[in-house]
């Protein structure tokens, strides 16, 4: 809700990630306002002109120490709630890989993205694959796997409206998933510094309805323009 | 002019000994880092057992024996120092230093052999670790030999005998690192 006011939520797990953020926000706001409030109150109340002589308090006695002990146990309890919420969402987004038959291949390199879409036959590494630089086209409400690669250094595939980020590591293939839930055209970022062109690696994701997506595939499949087939190797 | 600061010992442990333990603790973390990295790599790459088979175990064993013996002479040097026998401590320290030099000489023959047979630091990651870890260790051996000679020169004249123990502690540490390196680089094949 709070993040959504600034950035649309366009994936099935965006709301869940936003929920964890907001849970933290409310807990933190409570503790922050309480601590700062007491802090400034004490400064005002015990200023020299209000309080010319200070008390001698060691803080070691139980009735004194409890003012510290009880709050910090309460902090621990809040932390437990946050951990539970965080771990649940983390599992769903990063550990789990729900099955699907659609995979897009993402190749990051200095300093551009190469997206390989499976094409009308739905399979990667076939003749009708659609390879685009800096444009990723997906269909709304469809579960996709992504296969993330890097050709050279570390990059990071980041789609703010999905709330998704994942580092790309050369020499490894990293799998993940997303289900787009909102049509539109949005930013893709590289979120791991990758050299002097790091700021030039913006790309766009096009989340399309079924009709739009089918017609895009029809117009773009390899009867027409195509990029270097070498970028399809993606190891 | 020494400050009063280092003539007192509230904790009961002499300051020089505290200092050398600090140095050793830092070194343990440094070598620990290298060894942990080596272990993680090794566990992840089965091929390494094969690469490691090309190290020469008997040479490593010889060097281990040399270092252990030199640690023994360092202990004996300390005993002499405790009894106030400066020249005796100096002699035994020189034996220790000689052990260190033999170690380095043996290693240079070993490395010359390996490099001439194509096993260089860039051959593969096992060899990168091998030369880096053993090389860093060898640098510490050389540094230890140099300090030992300085301490021995003073001990011969009966001065600064407390430093015999200190350099001895350092030398045992150098020995200990090798005791870890030897099985990892030479035995686990």
């Amino acid at each position: 809700m709070l993040i959504e006011a600034l950035v649309p939520a366009a994936s099935s797990y965006a709301k869940d990630i936003d929920f964890v953020w907001e849970l933290v926000f409310w807990f933190v706001a409570f503790w922050f306002i309480l601590s700062e409030g007491i802090f400034f109150y004490f400064i005002m109340k015990f200023r020299k002109k209000n309080s010319p002589k200070a008390e001698y308090i060691s803080g070691e006695e139980k009735h004194q120490k409890k003012w510290i002990t009880y709050p910090h146990i309460a902090v621990l309890v809040c932390d437990v709630f946050i951990v539970v919420a965080a771990v649940k969402v983390w599992y769903d987004v990063k550990q789990d890989l729900p099955p699907t038959d659609r995979t897009v291949r993402i190749m990051s390199s200095q300093w551009a993205w190469t997206f390989t879409h499976p094409g009308p036959d739905g399979k990667l590494d076939t003749a009708d694959d659609i390879i685009k630089n800096d444009e990723l086209h997906v269909e709304v409400d469809q579960l996709y796997h992504y296969e993330l690669h890097s050709r050279d250094v570390l990059h990071d595939f980041s789609v703010p409206v999905f709330r998704l980020k994942q580092d790309a590591i050369p020499g490894r293939t990293i799998m993940g998933w997303f289900t787009p839930t909102l049509t539109g055209e949005f930013d893709i970022q590289c979120a791991e510094i990758c050299g002097i062109g790091h700021g030039l690696m913006g790309a766009r994701i096009f989340i399309e309805s079924k009709e739009q997506h089918d017609s895009w595939m029809a117009k773009n499949n390899p009867r027409g323009e195509n990029l270097l087939l070498a970028s399809n190797e993606g190891r | 002019m020494r400050p009063i600061a280092n003539t007192r010992s509230v904790s009961g442990v002499p300051t020089a000994r505290l200092a050398v333990w600090w140095v050793i603790a830092s070194e343990i973390v440094i070598f620990g880092g290298i060894l942990m990295s080596y272990l993680m790599h090794r566990l992840a790459h089965g091929l390494w057992a094969d690469y490691a088979s090309h190290t020469t175990t008997w040479v490593g064993a010889l060097n281990t024996f040399v270092l252990l013996t030199s640690s023994l002479s360092a202990v004996l040097a300390h005993k002499c120092a405790v009894n106030g026998d400066g020249p005796g401590a100096a002699k035994r320290l020189l034996i220790t230093a000689a052990g260190g030099l033999i170690f380095v000489v043996v290693k240079s023959f070993e490395w010359t052999y390996e490099i001439s047979h194509g096993y260089t630091i860039t051959t593969n990651t096992f060899w990168s670790f091998y030369y880096t870890a053993a090389g860093l260790h060898a640098l510490h051996v050389i540094a230890g030999v140099v300090i030992m000679l300085i301490v021995a020169a003073a001990a011969k004249k009966g001065r600064d005998l407390h430093r015999v123990e200190i350099i001895g502690i350092y030398w045992h540490f150098v020995d200990l690192v090798w005791i870890f390196l030897f099985p990892l680089l030479y035995i686990a094949k």
Partner: protein
């Protein structure tokens, strides 16, 4: 009965040394402290200038920055890289640990110098060398390293990726030398604190700031080793052609990340602890109160130190580590918020029932608590793995760590500097100028970084020289916020001139400061102002703890440690 040990301050053991031995190659801990302080502050100016240049680029992209020139993408990356590197390694550490540590530890413990003065001097010169080495990287072909202060390979390991063949290696060597300097320096802090305490000074009579600096040194020593090894490996990948971190030849880039962050996380506590210590001493003096639950503070600090070794991979949640590992690290990371919260509560509790004077040092110390609280609570968002998926690499992270580092390195430093200036330089600082400097720094500081939290939540990510390539980030509203933050920085930088003017004016003033202007209890205030070589005429004996303010059995509201019962 007091033990009178005469120091070599009380008899002329050696005639007054020449300029070079007194000011340049000095082994006196106070001179070494000042050397570290001035070098650290000078590097701070350089780091601040870099921030000026890159923030001007962000506010007015593509325009020539006055006094600098054009900030190209390559220049931008090397500016942000070296800003971070310099501020942590060449400002926070030397000022908080080496400068304050060197100055205070022998004085507060009641002895005449560090245990190993020549090693102390050596550590400074290695440190200075490391700073010079780093600065040369700006003048070599290819320019300074630009792969972020985290220096992840393969970018940092291969010149064909970084395009800074010399700069990358110079950076690694400089950082390695800095580590060695601080390892050497640590020898003195730990041995002096353990062995050279004044007679009667039990462990619980040691001022908290000394404990904090000693524990910080131990944390540093226990964590830096793997990174020093990693730095050697990175250097070899760069120059010799090894492949420790090259995945094409059997290496692993993630290994570097683990080595880096295993050190990197404890490192933030290494710099936090001295700032906490300085804050404690200042708050106690200006609220005339004993530190609340001193023993708890110590135990909590130990616990924090130990826990700090278990949280590192929260920097690597989305880095491609095994996702199951993330769960362990989110638990440990949130757990560490508990002792830190406890420390904040203790400081607030210390104010209760006090008699608070809002002097310049006290303003800084209080603002440390107020701003560090923001840094601490915003860390929770990032420690929660599920939320970090979105927050990683955004300006939210950046604002979080500036709300921890700025309080630590800048606020903590000014608190300590304004508090101990009378003892260090023998003159009082101007209170009015001090307050102007304080408000002129604190308000703009918040004006810079609060908006950056907002920008981070709105999706703005880090280390980008120009956001025009990202339509959702290139809105007029977001650009207006960037300009606002930059202007706030300009204001803050302008007010630093007030500080420098105050320093020079105060130092040159004819009026000498009294020995104990703040009426504090710790032993440094017993020594003459400024302390001579050897510190004390007679080494003191200690009879009580360091914070015996407002004791009911006394008329005076303070009770120096060395005053007999």
């Amino acid at each position: 009965m007091a033990e009178t040990i005469s120091t070599h301050a009380s008899h002329d053991e050696h005639h007054d040394p020449s300029f070079i031995w007194k000011y340049v190659f000095s082994t006196d801990h106070k001179m070494i402290a000042k050397q570290y302080m001035f070098t650290g502050m000078a590097m701070g100016l350089i780091g601040a200038f870099m921030a000026y240049a890159f923030r001007m680029q962000l506010a007015f992209p593509g325009m020539d920055v006055p006094l600098f020139g054009l900030v190209t993408p390559a220049v931008y990356n090397s500016l942000v890289t070296n800003h971070g590197t310099i501020m942590i390694f060449w400002v926070a550490m030397p000022v908080l640990i080496a400068a304050f540590g060197n100055f205070l530890i022998p004085l507060m413990l009641g002895c005449d110098d560090m245990v190993f003065p020549r090693i102390n001097m050596l550590s400074y010169w290695i440190f200075l060398l490391s700073a010079v080495v780093l600065l040369t990287s700006f003048f070599v072909p290819g320019g300074a390293f630009g792969g972020a202060w985290t220096a992840y390979p393969p970018l940092s390991a291969k010149a064909e990726y970084s395009l800074t063949p010399l700069g990358s290696s110079i950076w690694v060597v400089a950082v390695g030398l800095e580590f060695i300097a601080f390892l050497l320096g640590g020898i003195n802090f730990v041995t002096t604190a353990m062995n050279s305490r004044a007679p009667g000074m039990r462990l619980y009579d040691i001022p908290i700031v000394v404990w904090m600096i000693v524990i910080a040194s131990i944390l540093f020593m226990a964590s830096v080793g793997p990174l020093l090894a990693g730095a050697a490996m990175l250097f070899m990948d760069q120059q010799v052609g090894t492949a420790f971190f090259d995945p094409n030849k059997g290496g692993d880039p993630i290994l570097w990340q683990h080595l880096f962050w295993f050190f990197g996380h404890p490192e933030v506590y290494v710099v936090l602890l001295p700032a906490l210590g300085i804050t404690a001493d200042v708050i106690c003096t200006f609220s005339r109160k004993k530190l609340f639950a001193y023993r708890t503070v110590l135990m909590t600090t130990f616990a924090t130190g130990v826990l700090s070794f278990t949280v590192w991979a929260h920097h690597q949640f989305v880095a491609g580590i095994d996702p199951r590992m993330a769960n362990i690290f989110t638990i440990t990371t949130l757990l560490i918020s508990v002792p830190i919260a406890e420390l904040c509560f203790v400081y607030i509790a210390t104010l209760y029932g006090g008699s608070i004077s809002l002097t310049t040092p006290m303003l800084w110390a209080l603002s440390f608590i107020a701003t560090f609280l923001i840094g601490g609570v915003t860390g929770i968002f990032l420690g929660a793995s599920g939320a970090d998926i979105y927050m990683h690499d955004t300006y939210f992270v950046l604002a979080h760590f500036h709300y921890t580092f700025y309080p630590i390195a800048i606020i903590g430093t000014f608190a300590g500097f304004t508090y101990w200036f009378p003892k260090m330089f023998g003159k009082m600082m101007d209170e009015r100028l001090g307050k102007i400097h304080f408000w002129g720094s604190i308000i703009p500081f918040n004006a810079i970084f609060i908006p950056l939290f907002y920008l981070g939540v709105a999706g703005q990510h880090r280390r980008i020289f120009d956001f025009s390539n990202y339509p959702e980030l290139a809105t007029p509203e977001m650009q207006a916020i960037r300009i606002f933050a930059t202007v706030s920085l300009l204001v803050m930088l302008a007010f630093q001139f007030v500080f420098f003017y105050n320093c020079i004016k105060s130092w040159m003033s004819k009026e000498k400061a009294p020995d104990n202007p703040w009426k504090a209890n710790t032993l440094e205030w017993v020594a003459p102002t400024p302390p001579p070589h050897g510190n004390f005429k007679e080494l003191p004996t200690v009879y009580r703890g360091p914070y015996e303010f407002s004791h009911p059995d006394r008329d005076e509201d303070y009770w120096p440690q060395n005053e007999p019962a």
